[in-house]
């Protein structure tokens, strides 16, 4: 086989695959943040905790009720999304008339509470979650070995991302949503229940985070701080992408995952910070982000 600048192709493609998987998580999470930000104008700092909740609900379903991965993919986002709806009704709703920064602080406080409770209950060491039988094995592609479980993560997040994009950009519901972000009063005057739309949107964004959590459960170990560091990288992804467009957050998410994977091949020490370095460069050149509108 050929060699690429001294790097064996197995290692290169292996890291690219890992990068693509990380990118899938970045994409789904930043998409969730973008959906929530679009209508609520709130940076959902609880997003990392809600991602963690998704993984934990999947783990609990399996260990307490014997409900497996495939049902968890549906049930966990539903449960956590409903929890999000309750949060929005109880707390976040009261802040819309205030400066956006209070929303950030409130969701940060909620994240501390949720993470703290799970640390108290489960400690910080990880709990194993076994992948279902259907996802074992893999394909030999000639230049690399592709495990089914990894391929599934990439496929599932791509489908969810495309589905969300399709609903928001191409359907009537999406049109209401986009209109409500522009002018909620006017949309309300047309007889559309804007507060309900807002609550549902928050629930959906939270469900996206939980879905990512379920996808992550068999790959990484399930633990209370799994969302803590991930969410900050996702914030950087959001700044780079620009939050303005749904498509932007998807492309930036997958792209930055790949860039991270490449960095891990050529300069391993830099892989943890490469996203932040790119963010600094983007801020210098294009402060509104790659796909963002100037505000």
């Amino acid at each position: 086989m050929f060699e690429l600048i001294g790097i064996p192709p197995q290692a290169l493609f292996g890291q690219l695959l890992l990068g693509l998987i990380n990118g899938s998580f970045y994409a789904v999470l930043s998409l969730g943040l973008a959906v929530i930000f679009g209508l609520l104008n709130i940076i959902n700092f609880t997003h990392g905790a809600q991602y963690m909740l998704g993984a934990f609900v999947a783990w609990m379903l399996l260990n307490y009720l014997g409900i497996g991965y495939w049902w968890a993919l549906l049930l966990a986002p539903l449960t956590v999304g409903l929890l999000g709806v309750v949060m929005e009704r109880l707390f976040i709703r009261r802040l819309y008339h205030l400066d956006h920064l209070y929303g950030l602080l409130l969701t940060f406080g909620l994240a501390l509470i949720i993470t703290g409770i799970f640390k108290q209950q489960f400690g910080v060491s990880g709990l194993p979650y076994s992948a279902p039988a259907l996802l074992s094995g893999g394909y030999n592609l000639g230049f690399m070995y592709l495990p089914v479980s990894r391929a599934w993560v990439i496929l599932a997040s791509a489908i969810v991302c495309f589905g969300t994009w399709f609903v928001i950009e191409k359907t009537r519901l999406g049109a209401y949503l986009r209109a409500a972000t522009e002018n909620p009063t006017l949309v309300g005057a047309f007889g559309i229940n804007v507060p309900l739309l807002i609550t549902a949107t928050y629930g959906f964004g939270v469900a996206l985070a939980a879905f990512a959590g379920v996808l992550a459960a068999p790959i990484y170990s399930v633990n209370p701080i799994m969302g803590e560091n991930l969410i900050i990288v996702v914030f950087a992804v959001v700044v780079i992408g620009g939050m303005g467009s749904i498509l932007g957050s998807i492309i930036t998410g997958f792209g930055l995952g790949l860039v991270e994977g490449l960095t891990r091949v050529f300069y391993p020490e830099g892989s943890a910070v490469v996203v932040f370095v790119i963010m600094a460069i983007v801020l210098l050149v294009k402060p509104a982000g790659l796909f963002g509108r100037e505000i």
Binding site: L101, L105, G116, Q120, A236, V239
Partner: protein
Amino acid sequence: MAGNSDVVAAPVPNLREPIGIPRHHIVLFSLLLAGLVVAPFVLYPVFLMKVLCFALFAAAFNLLLGYGGLLSFGHAAYFGMASYVSAHAAKIWGLTPELAILSGTLVAAVLGLVFGALAIRRQGIYFAMVTLAFAQMVYFFSLQAPFTGGEDGIQAVPRGHLFGLFDLSRPEPLYFFVLAIFFAGILLIYRIIHSPFGQVLKAIRQNEARAVSLGYHVNRYKLTVFVLSAALSGLAGATKAIVFQLASLTDVYWAMSGEVVLMTLLGGMGTVFGPLVGAAVIVTMQNYLASFGDWVTIIQGAIFVIAVLLFREGIVGVIAKWTKKPL
């Protein structure tokens, strides 16, 4: 912070404020100093020094948030990096404590200049996210760089002799050294707030577009206050490293950035004395609840939620409202 955080100036437009120092501020500062001079004879000095370091950190942060209207979510970067630098300077380079602290402060200021120049290109929540991301960059750097000692941090930092004269390994000289740094820092912040520069900052916070139309170079003001805040946070972090003889990852981790926001919010943003009260409350709480483990995080989160929902003026802000005096 649009309008509503400015509870202090709202009731009575205080036209005399820029000209002279209000008399009750002089009284309060004197009482504070007198109390802190007596305190180590009543309370545990190490605990008091911890409160002083965090109070200075919170006051420095409040300079940026309460007066500049800029919510940085990454102030741990300046606090923590300065503590690493001063610990390294004291231990490896063998610098005297005052020079070690100075070098830590300087590095924090430079870091603040670089990050601030980039971050002020975005506003509001974007600004908060950018500062947070930069701080995380500093965290990963601290985790990997050879001089920070990774997970162990820099331990057994020598306290040394102040100006080669006073032995800081004894508790009394150390306490009064920390008190001097704290008080000088607070007075400097007070001076900045009540200078023409501080007035322009308030104007920018209340209505940026109007400040621009009046011909102020808004970004220059924002950057200046960012650097000042970073440097003073660095001063607090560097002092803490010398006092506790330790610089560790806790000080650069983003939970620390959250903690300083909480102290400021709880005490009262945009008030002079609020961050000091907030820091005292939080540090006391952490000290007494330390044995409850993760409950501390849960309680801190609950305080965040309550403060944001019901208590946005903070403790000192509420008192200021009652007494109708800016505090």
